[in-house]
Symmetry: C2
Subunit: 370 residues, 2 copies
Amino acid sequence: MAFPRKTIYIAVIGTGGVGKCFLSQLENLSKKFQDDQSLPILSLILVSRSKNLLFTPDYNGISFDDLLISLNNSTQCQLSIHEMIDFLANAPSSAVLIDNTSSQEIANSYPQFLAKGINIVTPNKKAFSGSLHLWQDIFTAATKSGARIFHESSVGAGLPVISTLNDLIDTGDEVIKIEGVFSGTMSFLFNSFTPTEGAGGLWSAEVLRAKELGYTEPDPRDDLNGLDVARKLTILARLSGIQLESPMSFPVQSLIPKELEKVTCRDEFLRRLPEFDFHMEEIKQTAEKIGKVLRYVGSVDVVKKEAKVSIEMFDRSHPIAALKGSDNLISFYTKRYDKGSLIIQGAGAGGEVTAMGVTGDLLKVVKCIS
Amino acid sequence: MAFPRKTIYIAVIGTGGVGKCFLSQLENLSKKFQDDQSLPILSLILVSRSKNLLFTPDYNGISFDDLLISLNNSTQCQLSIHEMIDFLANAPSSAVLIDNTSSQEIANSYPQFLAKGINIVTPNKKAFSGSLHLWQDIFTAATKSGARIFHESSVGAGLPVISTLNDLIDTGDEVIKIEGVFSGTMSFLFNSFTPTEGAGGLWSAEVLRAKELGYTEPDPRDDLNGLDVARKLTILARLSGIQLESPMSFPVQSLIPKELEKVTCRDEFLRRLPEFDFHMEEIKQTAEKIGKVLRYVGSVDVVKKEAKVSIEMFDRSHPIAALKGSDNLISFYTKRYDKGSLIIQGAGAGGEVTAMGVTGDLLKVVKCIS
């Protein structure tokens, strides 16, 4: 790669698990770029999190040394989104916003960033799985201004899921169906509950164990309601040309028992969950009787323009049954891959791999705008 | 994507299985681009195969209507590689050479194309798995001139293998090991010979069956010698930073019995192959005794800087054991994917999917140079 030596200005919002990993990856990347005369200079000009802001109004770049401490000690006033857009739009050359938050408010402002020519890279699912209106606004603004928006990590973290789907479509393949395990938590839960070998525990016990091992959200109901999977599926369906209105506009099987839906307290929920083990046990035994296992899968039927998230039965030799640990697996059934499917498999969550998807996208933007 | 309306000049060499599929994909792509004012115009200015050449000296573009018939009837004299380079280097704007041949001669000239700023997209393994000297010349020339060279389809056809490996490395992950089934033929042979369920046939019978079903080269020895896998492994090893001298510079287990190495006639080879079934049967039974199956895998140990191609034993639940049909599977073991691996799986051969990798790469070049 030979780039003319120019500067690309980078703003990063969010310094949580993914944000911290990304900043560390960005530090290494910017050093590598600095040392190679054929590459542009990557200049970090803004870092922000809910309560703190660090930015260089003169576009001179922030040092990575003790960056998080400097951010913590910063007395700069938080910029409004409008001010941030102005700041980035006025940068001496191309700017990239890296949104490592899961903020709906920031996602809602993407069209404004893009309209001003500011490129965006983000793992924030909210922007692409919320209202169809926002989705359309985002891509219309990008097309008009020529700004790039990449969001590989919004599905399957660093796994090449979105880039593969886009490549299939852009090269003229016809996607027939997308099916997979899109949640590390659900993968872990079902791989333990109905393993291909051995018996597995009771459902409520597996939920507790997954929580104790850190595989669930602090409140496991945030996984069990299926919304996270529905959001990812919404993104893939829309990329496949299906105009899903929202992640609530198709069938999503919630694993929160109806009788516990009104329980507000997490601990009460977990205490009462064993009352409903008989139900999950029943489904498990039905599957076992015909030699199958259960997995929690999302699928998009591109031909019928339908999506759904549900517990399904699989032969033990099926790749989805054979999943290990908390791995994700996404199968693309297409016209060209007619004898099977194209499968991407691996860890679909975690700070480092999610940040990797973000860094990979940043590199793609850099290649485009250098 | 918003591109300024410019023209990108495309030359295609090779109209075999992959070449024909690619030309059909290019035709669709160029129509799509033509209709979208925000995209550049893709202009086909040269098509060539061993005996025929069709090109427009005035860079006006060739019609896709009855293209192969026009090529067949063309009376234009074949250009030398030097003349072809001149022609493309003098195009009014960026040019891309698509090499859909497996010609070593054309591969050898890549550095000259690249030095003149001509971008290259190719599935031709010879360029990247031949001498290390050629590999170095190619990438040095590309870096110097800024021309792009993409070769996704040189490993695993349209599967996102090379792009994924490059993304892992470019974002700072550490690749520890790459392991996989890199040959559709070998996949089919071993999935039939030692299936996860059932017995499988004798080795020589499986080879004959695979040949009859069209899963092998016309002479199956071209698959059984392991060179095709060794070439793909050489490419992945070099991308991982291991300077392998050639595909002959590391251990490759040939499945051509020593006693038959000097047999020149294919049919004699196939007739005598059953004499050596006892040997393969022995390995198979050794594996079966400990509940395992055999697969023909290539692996790169990036830490030890070693590569090898050999028959290995796998648990029946291992993703490599669970392969179906003639699918390829490539596992990346890395520092970030520390709890398992990142797996890419699917058809790794065939005209349409190989051409898709080429078309996908062309789109990447177009995005970079528009």
